[in-house]
């Protein structure tokens, strides 16, 4: 199977840049576990895919090298940060691709590009050799043309890894096996906090259509509440940037990557290297993370955010007592235009409002196509599941996909 890889996974002997000037010439001496597993299973690695620098962004406009366009409308963004991965699958440049998801970076671009994207449970897929952004949130997963391919790729990617102490030591079921078992009696939770003002009418209509279709297939719907949803973006931008500021401290010009030696000693070299190597969004997040971890602010910001994170997680624990999966829109809107949100970081951050809670809680989530806007842009449906229960997500997704048939539509390029 010809597969392309987000340029955040280390590939032995093949340049791995994370779309950053910092790593423009970095050639890893080892394979990430995900790439190794794919190779061992016979996959052909076609190449590496564009992304927001260090996976920080929601439009792939933060790549240090070039922009990626949405195959459905080249004046629109493909989403991000795995924008290259989603666009490549939508455009038919590869059979499938691999992305990473820290706050929606697999699901949101999959939604914008009309393909399937799966973020597994935190720990289900090894993070070894996956360049770190926010270590407690990052998770790799497949981006594919349909649900069956996602299940097959997860079969290969999932599993415990001695090289990642946070990978979960649990057996990997055959995710492709139960796909056709249907959704009769499956309880689908509809959280009221996700159907709010600001949700695009066409998106809402398409998602409601999917709910009706799943009901017609025998599923039951139940209203659920995730009351701390409104705090998720705030929690995320404190937790993720704090972890990022620590993770990105390694780019110091000493062992690998860019070095800018301005003859001002070691400290001068650090500063010059990081100034030249990092783009604006990466610097902004390092600044925010460093601020919230610094003396005097830690309790008010990082610690508080970590506590509210617990409440976000508990919301899901409660909701999953009443339902088997939760159904929401993936993003409040379809793909936005290139340049539309570049000037205002906060507006860009808010486009991740429906995908972020999933990472904070560590649960699995996926996006699949559920229709198109009047302008022909894809709309994505998000399914969230219990920890380690990717199988139920995939079964519900497959049932809907086979009835709806959106996955057969391809962009006219």
């Amino acid at each position: 199977m010809p597969i392309a890889i987000k340029d955040i996974f280390c590939t032995r002997g093949v340049k791995t840049t994370c779309s950053s000037r910092m790593l423009a010439n970095f050639v890893p001496p080892y394979d990430s576990t995900v790439v190794k597993r794919l190779k061992d299973a016979g996959a052909v690695i076609l190449g590496k895919l564009n992304m927001d620098e260090f996976a920080m962004g929601s439009s792939t406009e933060n790549s240090a090298f070039f922009k990626t366009l949405n195959p459905w409308d080249t004046s629109c963004v493909p989403g991000g940060s795995s924008g290259g991965s989603a666009a490549a699958v939508a455009a038919g440049l590869c059979a499938a691709s691999i992305g990473t998801d820290t706050g929606g970076s697999i699901r949101q671009p999959a939604s914008f590009c009309g393909v399937v994207g799966l973020k597994p449970t935190y720990g289900r897929v090894s993070r070894y050799g996956m360049i770190a952004f926010a270590s407690s949130l990052d998770q790799g997963g497949p981006i594919t043309k349909d649900v069956t391919d996602a299940a097959m790729l997860l079969n290969v990617m999932a599993g415990s890894d001695p090289l990642d102490s946070t990978s979960v030591d649990a057996p990997v079921p055959d995710y492709a096996r139960g796909l056709k078992d249907g959704v009769k009696g499956l309880k689908i939770g509809i959280p009221k906090e996700y159907f709010i003002e600001g949700l695009d009418r066409e998106v809402e209509g398409a998602v409601n259509g999917a709910i009706d279709a799943l009901k017609a297939s025998g599923a039951e719907t139940v209203g659920v509440s995730l009351p701390h949803t409104e705090y998720a973006v705030g929690v995320y931008y404190l937790v993720a940037t704090a972890e990022a500021s620590s993770n990105l401290a390694r780019y110091d010009g000493v062992k690998y990557g860019l070095r800018v030696d301005n003859a001002a000693g070691l400290l001068g070299m650090y500063r010059a290297t990081r100034d030249r190597g990092f783009g604006a969004e990466v610097k902004r997040r390092i600044m925010l993370g460093t601020y919230s971890l610094s003396a005097g602010y830690y309790d008010a910001y990082y610690k508080k955010a970590s506590e509210v994170r617990t409440l976000v997680k508990r919301d899901f624990d409660e909701a999953f007592k009443k339902c088997d999966v939760i159904l929401t829109p993936t993003s409040p809107t379809a793909a936005f235009r290139l340049g539309e949100k570049v000037a205002d970081p906060l507006t860009m951050y808010l486009s991740d409002i429906f995908t972020i809670s999933c990472n904070l809680a560590g649960i699995p989530g996926m996006s699949l196509p559920c229709g198109f806007t009047s302008k022909g842009l894809p709309i994505g449906l998000q399914l969230l599941g219990r920890p380690m229960d990717e199988a139920t997500l995939l079964r519900a997704a497959y049932t809907y996909e086979q009835g709806a048939g959106w996955h057969k539509k391809r962009p006219a390029l």
Binding site: Y122, G123, L238, L266, R274, K283, T290, Y291, S294, S306
Partner: protein
């Protein structure tokens, strides 16, 4: 909390970032907006709520102390910006 240019300079120093005057002005405004937004968290009652730092219930923090293969020295140095005698070379730090 209001952010000043001085705060931004202090944080940049901690983060080993060299910012231009223009960047300092830009980040002062942008960080202020983001921090105003996250201020909503301060209204959430978290008394008695433990923080979540990882969502995996059990971590394999301890493993058997067995020797496994490691990256050979030559490979480990293959991306070094500057190297000498099998080591990473850095600017002088001791006078």
């Amino acid at each position: 909390m209001p952010i000043t240019k001085k705060d931004v300079e202090h944080v940049a120093e901690l983060a080993r970032l060299a910012l231009t005057e223009e960047e300092k002005e830009l980040y002062t405004g942008q960080l202020q907006r983001i921090l105003d937004y996250v201020e909503t968290l301060s209204g959430v009652n978290t008394r008695g709520v433990p923080p979540t730092t990882y969502t995996v219930p059990e971590r394999k923090a301890v493993r058997a102390d067995t020797v496994i293969g490691s990256i050979p020295q030559e490979d480990a140095l293959s991306n070094a910006p500057e190297k000498a005698k099998g080591c990473f070379r850095v600017p002088r730090i001791i006078e």
